[in-house]
């Protein structure tokens, strides 16, 4: 399960809308509590996919940005617990590309659809332990 506040979900929605028609992305910071990933902050980053036009359907977070996020997390006493990105004009469902390039089980992959520039539904996914696919996890949003 992924827990986050309404304010953080709103921030993710706003970033996705601002990035439209490209994909927006960032890291989820927080802590893990058993099977729950609890988000306490965000580390937004620029979509660094190299080909501008392909940013409509692809995103990349560089090791340099990931390192900066790790340092920020350490300084805040939290961890990187997941990745968020937007799907412009597409369902918030983990794609073959998300699977092919997935990293490790345990991270939450939070995907937000943005249609015609308006943020919509978010769904969250985790890589299965055998890396064969994603399984959806429940999202709990609190004030």
């Amino acid at each position: 399960m992924l827990r986050l506040s309404e304010a953080l979900q709103a921030q993710i929605n706003a970033q996705g809308a601002a990035a439209y028609p490209y994909e927006g992305c960032g890291l989820l910071l927080g802590h893990t509590n058993g099977e729950e990933n609890v988000v306490t902050g965000l580390f937004p980053v620029e979509n660094q996919w190299e080909v501008e036009e392909e940013k409509r359907e692809r995103f990349q977070i560089t090791p340099e940005d990931m390192f900066a996020a790790e340092v920020a997390a350490m300084n805040q006493g939290v961890d990187i617990i997941g990745i968020y990105h937007s799907h412009p004009d597409h369902d918030p469902v983990a794609s073959p590309r998300d699977l092919a390039w997935a990293t490790w089980p345990g991270y939450s992959y939070l995907i937000t659809e943005v249609r015609d520039g308006q943020p919509g539904e978010s769904r969250s996914w985790q890589l299965q332990r055998d890396r064969s696919g994603f399984e959806e996890e429940k999202i709990e949003i609190r004030d």
Partner: protein, 97 residues
């Protein structure tokens, strides 16, 4: 012994530790020692004998790709960080489990 900081999702495979001390005089040797000490970590770090393509290793604050790669020398006071590069995006066809 150098220190390797373990990314959050890999800690369950490393005794729930956030960092571990490992033997080895190079970054490559340290990572191999890590995988030997915690065998369940291996599949998440290595694809065969090579590091998985998304796995990057930082020595203190530098990516070892820009140093001497796996042969980068490390000392007892050094810290290695395992940093993934992340990519993805929507696809024409959705494939989930």
């Amino acid at each position: 012994m150098a220190t390797i900081r373990i990314p959050t999702p890999l800690r369950p495979y490393a005794g729930n530790k956030s960092s571990v001390n490992v033997k080895g005089n190079t970054a490559g040797a340290a990572l191999e020692a890590l995988a030997q000490d915690y065998p369940d970590l291996r599949q998440h770090l290595f694809d065969g004998k090579q590091l998985r393509s998304f796995v990057n290793v930082y020595l203190n604050e530098e990516d070892i790709r820009y140093l001497n790669g796996a042969e980068t020398a490390i000392g007892e006071q050094d810290t290695l960080m395992i940093i993934p590069s992340i990519a993805g995006g929507r696809g024409a066809r959705e494939v989930v489990s």
